[in-house]
Symmetry: C2
Subunit: 308 residues, 2 copies
């Protein structure tokens, strides 16, 4: 089964790793690049890299980002000579981001840089940036307009969120690779990532929703809520900013008209409306076994929708 998975942060990345275990190279992940940031002389793609490191098995699971047993000697030294050091990046993490920056500076495509990096570190699945154009997610907060990384890191994700803006989104378009993956997919999955700042920018790329809708594959969303809570990250603040309940039903409302079915946590207090075919399972991905178990459940459910 060929699968196209829309994903952003940890939840989607973990599901990607589980699905890769099951179908390997038949998985293509379409990753949010709204979090991308040029800093310290490198081009950081937080979501594509997070996904890549989950796929390569190098992710630091405890920290939730970066590579296991990475060191931080470059940033420590840059701080010594006067560089800002609010944005942390391990040495081997930085290496890929420096390579990406040079690859782009030499006229290369973000898509090809991501593919090269994923190959280099041993991922089996394909990781595709959602677009080539620079889209930058800005957060409108009670203390002002923030770059997403500033909000998450400098502000600690604490200030109330009034909304988001996606700078550059109007000029963006899905790449040929993204359109090809959606066309070729037997199932299109929306991963359990933040629906607003991780999946939202992907769906906001002009032409993306149309490409998904016109694909022959069923579209299945996995709720990021586990037992009514998000496992990681400030999802609720963003859901509330959009006036959505912080539940599977709230997630379903954001994907209305796009999805054919949902997988939600069995402990979710507020399931999607009856017109959305839904299965409830434990969506907590505890360790490799947990990731594969949810992947298997999602793929099996998707298979039934293909036949339907």
């Amino acid at each position: 089964m060929r699968v196209a998975l829309l994903a952003g942060g940890t939840g989607g990345a973990k599901l990607a790793a589980g699905i890769q275990e099951e179908i390997g190279a038949d998985l293509t992940v379409i990753a949010n690049t709204g979090d991308d940031i040029e800093t310290l002389g490198v081009h950081v793609s937080p979501d594509p890299d997070l996904i890549t490191y989950w796929l390569s098995g190098e992710i630091d699971e405890d920290r939730g980002w970066g590579l296991r047993e990475d060191t931080f000697r470059v940033l420590e030294r840059m701080a010594e000579v006067g560089a800002p050091n609010w944005f942390s990046l391990g040495d081997r993490d930085l290496a890929a981001c420096l390579y990406r920056r040079e690859f782009l500076a030499a006229g290369g495509r973000l898509t090809d840089a991501a593919a090269q990096i994923a190959r280099g570190v041993g991922a089996t699945a394909t990781v595709l940036p959602m677009c080539e154009e620079a889209v930058r997610t800005k957060v409108l907060t009670e203390v002002g307009r923030r770059d997403l990384q500033e909000y998450l890191i400098l502000d600690g994700g604490k200030p109330e969120v009034h909304g988001i803006e996606l700078d550059g989104i109007a000029e963006a378009e899905p790449t040929a690779e993204v359109l090809g993956a959606l066309r070729a997919a037997d199932a299109i999955l929306i991963g359990p990532s933040n629906p607003v700042i991780s999946i939202g920018p992907i769906l906001a790329v002009p032409g993306m929703r149309e490409a998904i809708a016109s694909a022959h594959a069923p579209v299945l969303a996995v709720s990021p809520y586990v037992g009514g809570q998000v496992v990681k990250g400030p999802t609720n603040k963003f859901m509330e900013a959009l006036g959505r309940p912080t539940t599977a039903a709230g997630v379903a409302s954001l994907y209305a008209g796009l999805i054919d079915a949902m997988v939600v946590d069995e402990g979710d207090p507020d399931p999607p409306p009856a017109d959305v075919p839904t299965i409830a399972t434990s969506t907590l991905m505890d360790g490799a076994a947990g990731r594969v178990r949810l992947a298997r459940t999602v793929l099996d459910y998707a298979a039934t929708l293909i036949d339907a």
Copy 2:
């Protein structure tokens, strides 16, 4: 005594460290930037950095470049994802070069980046790039025209040298800081670096020779030849390319009309002509004590020329 020292590679850098021991912040080093190279997304300034690391005491004396106990995790990882890896750079070494690149990209001056880095790593003396403009030393060899780093690293410094070219030299000019240091100096020293590829580019900057000649300070050159040999580097190949003897006399011939005196090694078989006041001493800088001893000898001799 305020000293301006022209320096390039290891010999000049070691003398700079010895002089810093003696006069501290009264030392300003004017460093060759003809070796600079933009690679791997960073701006490497081999000579200014080598000098800075000798001044900060961080230099890896055994290897002859880079920082003691540095690691190479970034370059190893960049190679894994597909970057070229012929040019080696440690992680903390790279950090300064990445900082420099960003500093320049943000509109900063090479001079200010070098000062910031030297301050950051604890150098007491001032390190000044010879100019702001990009000057790039090219080597004409029996196997073709080479970037200097390509010749030294990829070619191992082995092919015969027919000459050098200094790309961009016509547009270069000494910075205000360099001119100020030469004007303010009580003594101007030419360090025991390669006269052709280390000192040559500095003296070739339009206006540099005039600025040195018009300064009130005596100009004293220290021969890089120790017992008729160079301690490190392919100096002879470049001296021969210019048809100069590989001796103190050969060095003196390149500085003719510019220097008031020389310090040569007592074992040099071919001292400068009689019209160049010269003292002979052991110019081998063996350890910190050896660097300070030569520094002391050079400064004492310079003092006699100031009085004269």
